[in-house]
């Protein structure tokens, strides 16, 4: 067994021992969707939204919530605590590389967010009759790009936080803006024009709109994809610039 596989196996086991992470990534987003679905009127066709139902906008939103909790909250705290405790340092003295641990964390948090997305889509379909994405490939591609942007943002949070506590606080400070731009407080189409355009320039705003378009059956508009790509490149460069192993 290669070191990388062994690390992934060990980290997977440890991941299942983090009830907080499991709750916020896997349980909270479906419960949130359930809550929205129970609000009277959210399940009825709304003339203000071109005859669409509000709950339909909340499906991509809650898919992104899973991504947000995984990449901005869970992963930075996990990585910063590994660095703080010297877990990465210890690994540097073995034939394994600390980057194996980094890769394992990225893989696990993306996998968890993807699983949560499946749960949310299934719940939307089963409970509220929200159709599955009509363009699955576009949906998956958008989700992957969104995940990359989110994880890159998480990596920046890890890079600029000296301790796990600081990573938690930094994560929380971007958590609420991220939730807002993903359309969790107010669905993006309900925002006044300029506010919506501004939200669409953020990674999660662009991702929310792109997911909605893919769900409706088309490839997302290029401007959303460009915004997401630019953010990803920028954040990855920042993370690479500032990240320290110890």
């Amino acid at each position: 067994m290669s070191a990388r596989v062994a690390v992934l196996k060990a980290e997977t086991r440890l991941f299942t021992r983090e009830p907080g992470t499991l709750f916020w990534v896997l349980v909270f987003p479906p419960v949130l969707l359930l809550g929205f679905g129970l609000i009277p009127g959210y399940r009825d066709a709304d003339p203000d939204f071109g005859g669409r139902r509000i709950i339909e906008f909340y499906v991509p939103g809650t898919v992104l919530v899973a991504l947000i909790t995984a990449s901005l909250q869970a992963m930075p705290v996990a990585l910063a605590s590994y660095r703080e405790r010297g877990v990465l340092r210890r690994m540097r003295t073995t034939p394994a590389r600390p980057s194996d641990l980094l890769v394992a964390q990225v893989v696990l948090h993306s996998a968890a967010a993807l699983l949560a997305a499946v749960l949310v889509l299934a719940l939307g379909l089963g409970m509220f009759g929200v159709e599955l994405p009509r363009h699955p490939l576009a949906y998956l591609a958008t989700l992957a790009l969104g995940a990359l942007a989110g994880l890159a943002m998480g990596a920046v949070i890890t890079a600029v936080s000296r301790t796990a506590k600081m990573a938690g606080a930094a994560g929380l400070s971007v958590f609420f803006p991220a939730m807002f731009t993903a359309g969790i407080y107010v669905p993006l189409p309900a925002l006044p024009g300029p506010a919506r355009q501004l939200a669409e320039l953020t990674p999660f705003g662009a991702a929310a709109q792109a997911l909605d378009q893919a769900a409706a059956g088309s490839w997302p508009s290029w401007n959303h994809l460009v915004v997401l790509t630019l953010w990803t490149v920028l954040l990855l460069a920042a993370a690479a610039r500032w990240f320290r192993w110890e």
């Binding site: 596989v5 062994a6 086991r13 003295t93 034939p95």
Partner: protein, 316 residues
């Protein structure tokens, strides 16, 4: 020193060689021109007060830091360029590097075994280090001594030729410390060379074949523990309770006497063997009866203070 004695000096390659090592952090010079060689099969100590640069030396050997100048070889490998190969011959326990708190002992042993090409059977290792009953405990729940035992196991699991232990016993209670000492002797008996970093004199004196004393980034002495003690200008301590007070000036004037102190009628004189003889002569000549007369060797403690004191002889 131990096994290399028979060989010709020129072809005798030490298992760890550090020459002219220099390292600064910003303006602060932490290690200046440190040189020493560790021979195969010995327990070599690096002893020094806090902030002497011990950990930096070890981090350079372990390939975690790049020296500003100097050369390091571990089993002939350069930690800078042969990092991957070196991790197979060097097992390291660094200070302040933990494990994931929710990882169990058995998971850690299995994981670290998987890192190496030809690992030891971790079950045997766990038995040797009395980790058997702890296999399913999480790292976060282990006591200090139990953690150190696990760290020793992880440092050894790759069958290294050299094991580095940095301040292994610092946070341990005296009992756990003694248990750990026995384990370190055990490690050497199994054929692994040990590089031990410590600031405990007793530990260094008890375990090490040779010691490098590090002070403010400089190696001020390298010798066996007894060699270091005899380097002190007062290797002998004489103490007694005289039947009547003796004038300090007489005692101070004894040959080789370095210091004289009196506490509640109890006199302590430091000096050499010669001083001890002179004290006895003085007592006999003055018909003074001395009770509780003790003549003991100075400890490594005394030697260490002498070497690293505010004005050590080796300072330049």
């Amino acid at each position: 020193m131990v096994r290399g004695e028979g060989k010709d000096h020129a072809e005798n390659m030490s298992i760890v060689q550090v020459s002219g090592l220099r390292k600064s952090y910003g303006d602060k010079v932490v290690v200046r021109d440190a040189s020493f060689a560790v021979e195969e099969g010995e327990i070599f100590g690096i002893l020094g007060p806090n902030g002497a640069g011990k950990t930096t030396v070890v981090e350079c050997i372990g390939g975690l830091r790049v020296p500003d100048a100097g050369d390091i070889r571990v089993a002939g490998l350069d930690p800078r360029w042969d990092h991957a190969a070196m991790t197979e011959v060097l097992g390291v326990q660094l200070q302040s590097s933990e494990l994931q708190p929710k990882m169990t002992v058995v998971e850690a042993l299995e994981l670290y075994s998987a890192f190496y090409r030809n690992p030891l059977d971790w079950r045997t290792l766990a038995d040797r280090l009395a980790l058997g009953p702890l296999l399913h405990q999480r790292f976060g729940k282990l006591s200090g001594g139990q953690r150190q035992r696990l760290f020793i196991a992880l440092a050894l699991v790759g069958r290294p030729q050299v094991a580095v232990f940095d301040e292994l016993t610092t946070a341990l209670d005296p009992r756990a410390r003694r248990d750990t000492w026995a384990l370190i002797e055990n490690v050497r008996q199994s054929g692994v060379t040990v590089l031990l970093v410590t600031h405990y004199m007793e530990e260094a004196q008890r375990l090490c074949d040779r010691i490098a004393v590090l002070d403010r980034g400089r190696v001020v002495a390298i010798d066996t523990p007894s060699g270091l003690i005899s380097m002190s200008d007062s290797p002998t301590v004489i103490s007694f309770r005289p039947s009547r007070p003796l004038p300090h000036t007489d005692l101070q004037a004894l040959p080789g006497a370095v210091s004289v102190a009196e506490h509640g009628g109890h006199v302590t004189i430091t000096g050499t063997d010669e001083t001890a003889n002179a004290v006895i002569g003085l007592l006999a000549a003055g018909r003074v009866i001395a009770t509780q007369l003790r003549v003991v060797d100075a400890t490594l403690d005394d030697a260490f203070l002498h070497l690293t004191g505010p004005n050590p002889r080796g300072d330049n």
